[in-house]
Symmetry: C2
Subunit: 268 residues, 2 copies
């Protein structure tokens, strides 16, 4: 049956791996963090595609039965390329579509959706397309209000060492009230769930701040179930690979995944 392959440019996708582990305890996970090339959020779409397909092929060649693109910059810019690279028999779960889909509450439904993410994620337009897809069903009318918050992912990583940093950065991005009239807010980067409480504090009480990793884990479970790919193994095990191993990354990984992990360096 093989493990579930989950990849990100670095550490953020571990929030998704954590949610997948919690929901699917019988599944093994092979995680790959492309730390030699992180971050993806400011790189060109072409380069993000090159890096992402290379990792997807590595996960495929390592026997993975499904792939989770646990990076919004990669999901937004390289999803089709990853799907083509691994072929139609391997399900590929992205960070964008399941989250937008989860906001749909039936025909004639509507709402203003807020989105923060990297520059590569926002400028790709994939969230806009996903919202348009919702609206093409039964007269729903959702609108999207987005803003790139490119420094926030690095600020969150830096938060291990200096806890005033993420708050100062988040405030600089949100305190002008731009998002005060949205109904829901998508944390469009796998790092952001770590500052979800601060985002809630900085927005009006009525804004529903979405937690993507839990939604992605449920979408993964649904997809595996549909394809009859769920495991019932009692000896699931997880492996964590990175393309550049540093002590700083190891410390961050423990914080993101929530428990100690062994990291292995693999050059692609």
């Amino acid at each position: 049956m093989g493990p579930i392959g989950i990849f990100d440019s670095g550490i953020g996708g571990l929030t998704v791996a954590r949610a997948a582990c919690d929901l699917l305890p019988n599944e093994s996970i092979l995680y790959f963090g492309d730390t030699a090339h992180l971050p993806y959020g400011e790189k060109s779409p072409e380069l993000i595609r090159k890096y992402s397909t290379r990792i997807a092929l590595h996960l495929l060649n390592s026997g993975c039965k499904a792939i989770v693109v646990a990076c919004n910059s990669a999901s937004s810019n390289a999803l089709e390329q990853v799907r083509q690279a691994v072929g139609p028999s391997i399900p590929v779960i992205d960070m964008v579509n399941p989250v937008v889909e989860s906001l749909y509450s039936g025909s004639q439904s509507s709402g203003s959706i807020g989105l923060i993410g990297t520059r590569a994620t926002i400028s790709s337009g994939l969230y806009s397309s996903a919202v348009n897809d919702l609206n093409s069903r039964g007269g729903a009318s959702y609108s999207l209000k987005s803003r790139p918050t490119p420094l926030l992912a690095s600020a969150i990583e830096e938060g291990f060492h200096n806890d005033t940093i993420p708050g100062a950065v988040l405030e600089a991005y949100l305190d002008d009230g731009y998002f005060d009239d949205v109904d829901s807010m998508i944390l469009g980067c796998t790092h952001y769930p770590l500052v979800r409480e601060e985002v809630i504090r900085l927005l009006p009480n009525c804004v529903d701040v979405i937690d993507p990793p839990a939604i992605i884990a449920r979408a993964l479970k649904t997809k595996l179930s549909e394809l009859n790919l769920l495991s019932n193994s009692d000896d699931a095990s997880n492996r964590f690979q990175v393309s550049d191993l540093t002590e700083n990354f190891r410390l961050g990984a423990i914080r993101f995944f929530g428990s100690d992990i062994d990291l292995e360096e693999v050059e692609l």
Copy 2:
């Protein structure tokens, strides 16, 4: 005679290229920004060495007569490897030694030197070695007080779009008074000269905040003069290459270099 090769992980080294252009108007410059792999400041020494030597060889093969490692993370971790790669006939100027050397004011001199830079720069220990070298001369006794400020470089790049960001980050790093007793402060990253005024504002008046690009340009001129490599050409021209070209980088490059430039994408 060939151009002067100047490289950085990205955009910061353009502050050095600017200073070199101003001081040496008859020299041509070939600049390379490794934007496909930036930033270097959180990567492992081994990876920084691999990227740096590859670029140095590219500059050598492009006919450069001298190389400036205009990145403190690369200077601190890959200087010997770059020197070995290009051979003894090509002078290699780094960001660390000329700046520390400029603080020396004769035997028996002393002072407390502050340093901020990336994690890779600080943990390399190259600044400490350079200060120890000063102290081994004629009884000088300088001390070094350093702190990694890893988010600051990204915050400065982000400053093009959101001008509250660099100040908020800098304040979070400096406002505990850690550096209030130093005599001089080294801006140990090629991005930092762009926030020199804010650093001056956040430190006591008596702290001398050093401007490395001007010092590096003078060290380059001295070295070229010693080796009889100075050009007196009337048609000097500059070329700018990056390993990943984005519009965001182009806008930043204009700000860092201080005038419009043509960027060329080159895959190494």
